[in-house]
């Protein structure tokens, strides 16, 4: 038994269906194209690639490298470290949470896990703090990324 339908003619029903789905199937993608629905969030990957790609070319696959994350906000720090990981693959990024490191023994410092650390466009006062308080000495720069190593290596 078929479902009862107010439109009795099968041909007319097919026309109604086709007109409706046609309007939706053509119209909604058109709207999407015209409205240019904003994407979620900014393009962190492109931002990170532009800054870290020079350094990425010098790293070995699987090499551990610390990346300073210094915003202090856990979500932003996490996002910045993930962007760095994408850009620096196939090296493995160890995020160095600066606020934890400067608190002496902060559990998320992780500085002991790496020999080299990268800091993106660090202001000069930060470079001084990294050297005086964490023993990280600048050794070279690749594009806008400053590379530091632990003093005494």
């Amino acid at each position: 038994m078929r479902l009862p339908c107010a439109i009795s003619s099968p041909a007319l029903r097919r026309v109604v269906v086709l007109a409706t789905v046609g309007a939706l199937g053509v119209g909604i993608p058109c709207l999407h194209l015209v409205r240019r629905t904003p994407r979620h969030g900014g393009d962190g990957a492109a931002w990170a690639d532009a800054r870290y790609s020079g350094l990425a070319r010098t790293l070995r696959a699987g090499e551990r490298i610390g990346v300073i994350v210094a915003s202090g906000d856990p979500d932003l720090d996490g996002a910045l470290s993930m962007c760095a990981q994408y850009a620096l693959a196939p090296a493995i990024v160890e995020p160095i949470y600066l606020s934890d490191c400067l608190r002496d023994g902060g559990p998320r410092c992780r500085l002991e896990r790496v020999d080299r650390v990268a800091a993106l466009e660090p202001p000069p006062p930060l470079v001084g703090i990294l050297e005086r308080r964490l023993g990280l000495v600048p050794t070279s720069a690749v594009d806008s990324v400053l590379l530091l190593e632990k003093r005494g290596r």
Partner: protein, 476 residues
Amino acid sequence: MSTLLLAFALLLPAAVAWGVVSRLDPEPARGPVALALRAGASCILGPAFGSLVTYGWLVGGGTLGRGYAVFDAVLLLAIVLALRLRRRATVAAPRRPTSRLDALALVLVALCLAILGAALIDAAARIPHGEWDAWAIWNSRARFLFRGGAEWRAGFADELRKTSHPGYPLLVPLAVARLWAFAGETTAAPMATAILFAVAPVLVLAGAVGRRSGAVAGASAALLLAATESWLYWGGAQYADVPLAALATTAVAFLVADAHAGGRTALALAGASLAFCAWTKEDGILLAGVFGAWAALRGPRAPGTTWTRYALGRIGALASGAALPAAARIHFQLFLSPGFAPDFTMGQTLGKTVERVLDPDRWRTIVTSLPPLFPGFAWGLPLVAIAAAALLGARPRHVLRSPVLVPALAVYAADLLVYAATPLPLDWHIGTSAERVLLHAWPALLFGLLTLVPAAPDAAPGAAEVADDRSGVAAN
């Protein structure tokens, strides 16, 4: 040059898939409807098959570069030639006259494909590395596979567990890395992969539903999928959810072909598609299990066949297609992945899980949060699909006989259970994933609804009209 190489790398495995599908499709027929199904299925199964070649190469000790590209090209061209030389002798179904309305339906689908493609290209170009999970997980993994050389396994280090989920399966990253081996590392590769997986299911629906229930029903399924805003959004985002849904669409197309034409070849193609689902995302295992179980137990049974022999035969056919992708998945799980779904399994006990599942507050949250996230909810597309099927003459009594509708609904029920059981914060988990997860079975649901429409008077022939190899009929 890079663009040409990219196009070549995309077309080559699709050509292999075309040859395999043409050989195994139990319902050969001419016309745009059959061509749409084969083109769509080939565009979906092609990258999937290519990912297996790449995985085998890497596991065998190779690295991804020009050497791999040459090997891949030679191997796939050889397979294409072999398939052409051993082409099965079949009789094409007689070309059916197309009514004006059917012709209009096909024109609408073509127009929709053009606009859909343009919308997806525009969306993908605005964020060339994809949305968050795309670059953090899928494309990051592809970078490890491509850039890592002999150390490509570094991408599965335990340190990456919290950020890029190295336990996720590899179809999408391998498909992208394979393209980079041909064309160099370019954002066009993941963009093209994403767009292909978003557009091809529209063709599959138009063809497979059209073959069963007429061009208007086929066009309805295709147009409703293209009208789904979340499909448009996530299709351009380079996530793995739309590829998973695309593979599920291919699977149901072959399950329906099996239900009508019998034989075992369509089941093998369905088995391959389902195993590729499991090779795409962990959610794919659920999908493969539900559809596979339904297919093993509910297909056509020849008179006089015992139930055991029938079930074993069907499981064997599914397994024959699933063998290679399942082997890759199992190998990955055993030797590379640091764990299976650690977000769900680490530190969890059965007692805690049952407690969450039985919590009525959680179900209240699920029941109120999920409907607005259902595909097409804003435009009422699920109701439009039901109404369209009803107006075209769908018969509700065939719901239980559909090889697609009941398992599609079962997948949705399982999704609700997963959310009820999740150890992650429920609101956060729903907010960040449900819109994508609900897409997985959406094309299958559309497929199931519109194939309830009875075949048009000039619909595809059944198995009896497919030529027997042994009778030596004229080649196609």
